[in-house]
């Protein structure tokens, strides 16, 4: 064992004790210097190296040098006419056959203030273009709301290429409008799918009233996971938090393929999207006094209504 750490003999009466003590002190000092050197070499350098690497990563991130430019999803543009036509006019027979669909999570009934606009029940959708779950939910919302009114200016885009379920084909409510004699609709896309400044470029802003509503009801106990999108408030009676079905069914499909599959009741896309659309339709019908009757009384909507709480 290291003799350097041993104390000199305590027998100080012997004639050689003083030089021996000095040598021992020198040895101890030398051992301490060696120990400091070892600590610097073994401990200091690796730790400093790690800290420097982390600091470099942060600097690169903050400076924007590392911003991704090559894996952006498709830019948002106007939705193709055939896509819009297919999504907004899914045959009633198909919707009836799909019913509540497969793997569809129904909206949650809540006791929130009645949400209206122009004397009509109002549906508020909050999402973002980068969000893959919003990408899935939008298809169902458009199919459902198209049974009550007419969209114009729908966009066509894809979710983030870097997130889970990358580049999921979808529509966009940014710049779109909706008219209906029975229900009002507000679609808000808070962020685009374009990376900017370490996040995504901001898009639409919630009105102060909607912001208040969103922060209040997109939080427990009203929803399971607070601050989540997509968020849909259906007349203050039902809330959707998160996608009603898994975006998995849309993976690898183009807009045209998704739109076409909506009319095939046996396709996984129809079972997810059309099923969710029926459930959302049933929830909207609960706020419109079951109007229009042709929609709210249809077999698919009635089947979906049984899943509502």
């Amino acid at each position: 064992m290291p003799s350097s750490s041993q104390k000199p003999s305590s027998g100080g009466s012997s004639s050689g004790s003083a030089p021996a003590g000095a040598r021992a002190r020198l040895a101890a000092e030398q051992a301490q210097r060696q120990q400091r050197g070892r600590r610097l070499k073994w401990f200091g350098l690796p730790v400093v190296l790690v800290v420097l690497v982390v600091a470099a990563l942060v600097v690169v991130k903050v400076s924007g040098i590392g911003d991704r430019t090559t894996t952006q999803p498709a830019a948002t543009g106007a939705a193709a006419d055939q896509v819009v036509t297919a999504v907004t006019s899914v045959p009633a027979a198909v919707l009836d056959q799909v019913g509540a669909g497969t793997g569809v999570t129904p909206p949650k009934r809540v006791d929130a203030p009645v949400l209206t606009a122009d004397g009509k029940p109002r549906v508020l959708y909050v999402g973002a273009e980068y969000c893959p779950y919003c990408a899935a939910e939008r298809w169902a919302v458009v199919v459902a709301m198209s049974r009550f009114g007419t969209y114009s200016g729908l966009g066509q885009t894809a979710s983030s290429a870097q997130d889970v379920f990358p580049s999921t084909a979808t529509l966009s409510f940014h710049g779109a409008s909706f008219t209906s004699p029975t229900v009002a609709f507000t679609g808000v896309e808070t962020e685009s799918n374009e990376v900017a400044g370490g996040g995504y470029a901001p898009l639409d802003a919630l009105s102060p009233a909607d912001e208040q509503l969103f922060s209040t009801y997109d939080a427990p106990p009203y929803v399971e996971s607070g601050g989540s999108i997509p968020f849909v408030d259906i007349g203050g009676t039902y809330l959707v938090s998160g996608a009603s079905f898994s975006p998995q069914v849309l993976q690898g499909l183009t807009h045209a393929q998704v739109a076409a599959a909506l009319s095939d009741p046996t396709s996984p896309v129809a079972k997810g999207v059309d099923g969710a659309a029926n459930v959302i339709t049933a929830a909207v019908c609960a706020t419109t006094s079951q109007q229009p009757a042709a929609v709210c009384g249809s077999a698919g909507v009635q089947a979906a209504a049984k899943t509502l709480g």
């Binding site: 040598r23 730790v47 982390v54 990563l57 779950y133 808070t190 962020e191 996971s225 989540s228």
Partner: protein, 167 residues
């Protein structure tokens, strides 16, 4: 100085085990802390309801990190890998294990591997997920602190140069 006493004790026969027990504390405490944090993240990974939602905004966003496509490596949840790492390291830095110097290279390599993995995950958070998870950051800091404590301990008891000549 306790360090010197511990040095002597670390080299002493098993009967003088009080010193090593004290010296093992920092690395053992850090490893246990990392074990708790990674256990929490693993439980969250396997028990959280599958909410099909995107967390809205916020750079500090654990759900965005732990639910991202990067949260698994070769199909294995990263949180579980962290749990296994800290479990093994905890065993390697117990007082009994510290008495076995033959394990020093294993401890150093293991702790270094943990830090390399942590650096990779920091890169993923910053440049792929665009969000930071504070629990994950806690685990990363534990990995770095564990490496530091292991290196300190190993450096402290590494063989000294030639012993000074006795009179």
């Amino acid at each position: 100085m306790s360090g010197t006493r511990a040095d002597r004790a670390g080299a002493a026969p098993a009967g003088r085990a009080a010193g090593p027990r004290r010296r093992a504390e920092p690395s053992l405490v850090i490893a246990l802390l990392g074990l708790v944090v990674s256990a929490y993240l693993t439980v969250e990974h396997f028990t959280s309801p599958a909410v099909l939602a995107c967390p809205e905004g916020a750079t500090i966003n654990c759900a965005k990190v732990t639910s991202s496509v990067w949260s698994s490596l070769l199909g294995i949840p990263v949180a579980l890998l962290g749990l296994l790492f800290f479990a093994v390291m905890t065993l390697l830095v117990t007082p009994a294990a510290w008495r076995r110097r033959v394990l020093d290279p294993v401890r150093v390599v293991g702790a270094a591997a943990g830090v390399v993995m942590a650096l990779y995950l920091v890169w993923v958070e910053l440049f792929r997920v665009d969000a930071l998870c504070l629990w994950c950051t806690g685990a990363h800091l534990c990995a770095l602190a564990l490496l530091a404590s292991v290196l300190w301990r190993v450096a402290d008891r590494a063989p000294v140069g030639p012993a000074p000549a006795r009179p």
